[in-house]
């Protein structure tokens, strides 16, 4: 038995805060011993989690989400954006890098579903599907010492919300990094309306114990105060703007509009979600004003209020030759800029 030499352990997540849950996941990863394999089950509430190398705004209607008190989180693993609520269960299997074996580890979840009487199978992308529709999607982290696979299992998630948050209208962003792949998803409750998240948890725990602990009860990991103290830094990382948005791969934004007084084209080049380069074209504004606006945007974080404020400052301080035109241009330009950015940051 090749798995006998691994000590199988279990941890049940507490609470529904994605930033804490992801911090704990990374904490387990960083402290994984060479002979350990850990199953960690956790849930988030009203959350969109994007892949490590995704653009937050391109993948999620961040504004809508935050307006509804939802949270955007960025995870360590690759892949695309997912929506989590209490109808969804997340699992993570953490293992030493040497023991990384996708098919074998995914078997835990597949077995659990099959034991619950669900005719689940693997798809070509290593997702778990039922009659062609995805019920569980996975992503992976292959680190220098330890690795994990983690994924979602949809029990009775609000699929309407899922669609509304993740369906970003054809954005004006051109981004590097990873695009999400849309899949047809379904809830397990459509197959078995009595199935609960708790039953699924037990099922996954049991099949994990069967495969990695000869069917014996699993050793439970306790998160003590010392651990919690150490978790603070990681929590700070996962909740920070710099991680969630700042880690977006380089992207470009191109905005243009024809005003009564002329045409405007604004191109922003963003790196680490801050403006690295701004170029403004206009046949209407004064030629010395144009580079001043562009300059003021450079270095700003990609936040509506910051960008609009920077542009406003320049426009307010500019020594306008024609007072009347000033007001109109300034107002229309700033309104337009704010509206366009809000569409993106939505």
């Amino acid at each position: 038995m090749k798995n006998k030499d691994l000590k199988a352990k279990f941890l049940a997540g507490e609470g529904y805060n994605p930033w804490y849950n992801l911090a704990l996941e990374e904490y387990l990863l960083n402290n994984l011993k060479e002979d350990e394999i850990i199953l960690y089950l956790w849930q988030n509430e009203n959350t969109v989690v994007i892949g490590r190398n995704q653009n937050a705004w391109q993948e999620c209607r961040v504004g809508d989400l935050e307006d509804n008190e939802g949270k955007l989180a960025r995870r360590l693993s690759g892949g695309g954006a997912v929506f989590h609520d209490k109808g969804n269960l997340n699992y993570t299997i953490l293992m030493p890098r040497k023991k990384y074996d996708l098919k074998e580890k995914l078997e835990v979840v597949l077995k659990a579903l099959q034991n619950l009487g669900i005719k689940a199978e693997f798809s070509g992308r290593n997702d778990i599907i039922f009659e062609g529709r995805k019920i569980s999607g996975n992503a992976y982290y292959f680190g220098t010492k330890a690795a994990y696979i983690h994924g979602t299992v949809l029990v009775d998630t609000d699929l309407e919300k899922l669609v509304s948050y993740l369906n970003v209208s054809e954005a004006k962003i051109k981004s590097k990094g990873i695009d999400s792949v849309k899949s047809r998803v379904m809830n397990l409750s459509e197959i078995d309306k009595n199935l609960t998240v708790d039953e699924l948890k037990e099922g996954i725990k049991n099949s994990f114990a069967e495969i990695y602990n000869q069917g014996q009860p699993l050793n439970e990991i306790k998160i003590n105060n010392k651990d919690k103290e150490k978790l603070k830094d990681l929590y700070h990382k996962y909740s920070s703007w710099e991680w969630r948005f700042g880690k977006s791969p380089d992207f470009d934004i191109s905005l243009n509009n024809r005003f009564q007084w002329g045409e405007i084209e604004l191109k922003l080049k963003l790196s680490s979600a801050a403006v690295e380069e701004a170029v403004l074209y206009s046949d209407a504004m004064y030629s010395d004003l144009i580079p001043k606006i562009a300059d003021s945007l450079t270095g700003q974080q990609f936040k509506v209020e910051k960008i609009v404020a920077a542009a406003a400052k320049i426009l307010n301080n500019y020594n306008w030759p024609e007072q009347k035109k000033e007001l109109k241009v300034k107002e229309e330009f700033l309104n337009w800029l704010e509206a366009e950015l809000k569409k993106i940051i939505h």
Binding site: Y100, Y141, F142
Partner: protein
């Protein structure tokens, strides 16, 4: 050097990836194990670490680049550290030590001599500048056998059906094969370390220099150590012969056995120059691991020290394995092609031939390595024919308190011969008479099938005009061999036509290298074939073939085989 993306950097299901973050820049000094690049592929984020320390000269990828196994990521300068430390070595302090025997070189000659001498009560210093165990343990016999075994297991898996078994998705992981090998090597070298410690042998790390016949100087870290010694045993080993036919541009394709044991990844095609023991063992290892192998041998036969019936057998086995062999072929040049391959030019009966390969293994033999010691200065003479240190039967050099053993004597290049020479030297130093006999040194070749030989061959008998009798028994007729599914080969025993003493023997077939011990014992003790015949051999074993071959020497012939 170039840092490439290796298969072991990635999970097994991933071959290509996108660069998502580069954490280093040109000019940075990186350490081994440092995270340098992040990738994403197939929903997996992957952290790459530097396998080696160095200074980054060039970064050949950018964020967003699609890379695959083999893509060159960085170029680094790895020499910066050595340069610094070289200048640091200063003569700060001088220490001195007394010793009865000082041994230079910790290979199978040196460390065995040290153990033997220590067991006999001597006070021994052993000096080693690299690794205890020498070439044999670190870069020769042992690591190659570890690879032979992995290749054999992979081959068995492929042929599982032959045994009524089945295996799917058969594969191997080169990195894991290498790390298994490394583990075995370190287990053995640690074993030697503790043996030496237990016998109170002082092991000193450093480069030795012989000041005069009683003084050895060792450069060790920043210090120098002087040993005043009564006797010295030189056991400095050998190094590969380098043919001056490799263009500088092709250097990156060139391997010697040492590098072949630590290849980062397996090539698709390998050319091996030299069809001797080293060349052939590697040919079988790599070929069994699905590398296309071509062997280029200068002589008219591979493994030319063996009898031609053995050569025919192993040549057939090699052909079946898919190894391409050119004999009577002189390698002329190795150049680099525009598409990053080596082009090997060679001549067979005045006809020029060319092959391309990803790697070229140079295995044209080894020559005595004299440890960068200025031996002639103190009166030690070198044998002009072999390039080795001149020694007598007691292993004494031309300076009477200095002995030499092993490969540096240019006699045989076998670990077990070196160990035996070491024992002989230790005994003579400690006033116990002993002389070295080179006639009964068995040779073992780990091809598939294995080959082992000891004593007289048919070739030698013909050269010396000796009257001999020959008995041969085919492995095919041995029950154990049939059950193993390895039926190629035979056992051959050569005896004196007059006295019936066993003079030599060759075994090609399963377990040949283990079975040769019996024939060696017979040759060394002048046993007759009758004495072998009268010895009961267990059934069913491969050793029965020796019994049968001994019978075949005699007129009545083998019991379980007849020739029509």
């Amino acid at each position: 050097m170039e840092i490439k993306l290796k298969a072991s950097d990635l999970p097994e299901n991933i071959k290509k990836a996108e660069v998502t973050s580069i954490k280093v820049k040109k000019g940075d000094q990186i350490t081994a194990g440092e995270e340098i690049i992040d990738l994403e592929a197939n929903k997996t984020t992957i952290s790459l670490t530097a396998g080696q320390a160095g200074i980054i000269n060039e970064i050949l990828i950018e964020e967003g680049s699609e890379i695959e196994i083999g893509t060159v990521l960085l170029k680094i300068d790895t020499n910066f550290n050595e340069k610094e430390t070289e200048t640091e070595i200063k003569k700060e302090t001088k220490n001195s030590k007394e010793s009865q025997i000082t041994i230079i070189g910790g290979g199978p000659g040196g460390y065995v001599a040290a153990l033997k001498a220590a067991k006999m009560g001597a006070d021994v210093c052993l000096i080693e500048k690299e690794e205890l165990g020498g070439t044999c343990l670190n870069w020769g016999c042992i690591p190659t056998k570890a690879l032979v075994r992995s290749a054999e297991i992979y081959n068995n898996l492929k042929n599982a059906a032959q045994f009524g078994c089945s295996a799917e998705n058969i594969n191997f992981n080169w990195d894991q094969i290498i790390s298994r090998k490394n583990k075995i090597v370190s287990q053995l070298t640690n074993g030697i370390k503790s043996l030496l410690k237990k016998h109170k042998v002082k092991v000193i790390r450093g480069q030795a220099e012989i000041v005069d016949k009683n003084t050895v100087l060792i450069a060790k870290d920043k210090k120098e150590l002087i040993i005043n010694t009564k006797n010295i045993i030189l056991a400095t080993g050998s190094k590969p012969i380098e043919l001056p036919i490799v263009a500088t541009a092709a250097d990156k394709h060139l391997l010697y056995s040492k590098q072949a044991l630590d290849l980062e990844e397996l090539p698709q095609k390998m050319a091996i120059i030299g069809g001797g023991v080293i060349g052939l063992e590697f040919a079988f290892i790599f070929s069994r691991l699905d590398v296309e192998v071509t062997v280029i041998e200068y002589l008219d036969e591979i493994l030319a020290f063996l009898d031609s019936d053995v050569i025919t057998e192993i040549t057939e086995a090699a052909a079946e394995e898919g190894i391409e062999i050119y004999t009577g072929a002189e390698a002329k040049s190795v150049k680099a092609t525009a598409d990053q391959q080596a082009l090997v030019e060679f001549e067979v009966s005045d006809q020029k031939k060319y092959i391309t390969a990803d790697k070229v293994l140079m295995a044209v033999g080894r020559q005595a390595y004299l440890g960068d010691l200025d031996l002639e200065k103190i009166g030690i003479m070198i044998d002009e024919n072999t390039g080795g240190i001149k020694v007598n039967e007691k292993m004494q050099t031309t300076v009477d308190n200095i002995y030499a053993i092993g490969d540096c004597t240019g006699k045989t290049q076998l670990a077990h011969a070196a160990s035996h020479q070491g024992v002989i030297a230790a005994k003579n130093i400690l006033a116990e008479k002993a002389e070295m006999d080179y006639n009964t040194i068995p040779a073992a070749v780990f091809t598939a099938p294995e080959i082992a030989a000891v004593g007289l061959t048919e070739k030698e008998a013909a050269n010396k005009d000796l009257e001999i009798k020959i008995g041969k028994f085919p492995v095919m007729a041995n029950g154990k061999a049939l059950t193993l599914g390895e039926t190629r080969g035979f056992v051959k025993i050569i005896s004196d036509a007059e006295t019936d003493s066993v003079l030599g023997g060759t075994i090609i077939g399963p377990h040949a290298t283990d079975l040769i011990a019996e024939i060696t014992l017979a040759v060394n003790n002048n046993l007759t074939t009758e004495e072998i015949i009268d010895t009961i051999h267990a059934h069913p074993t491969s050793a029965e073939s020796i019994h049968e071959a001994a019978l075949a020497v005699r007129p009545e012939g083998a019991l379980h085989y007849y020739e029509e």
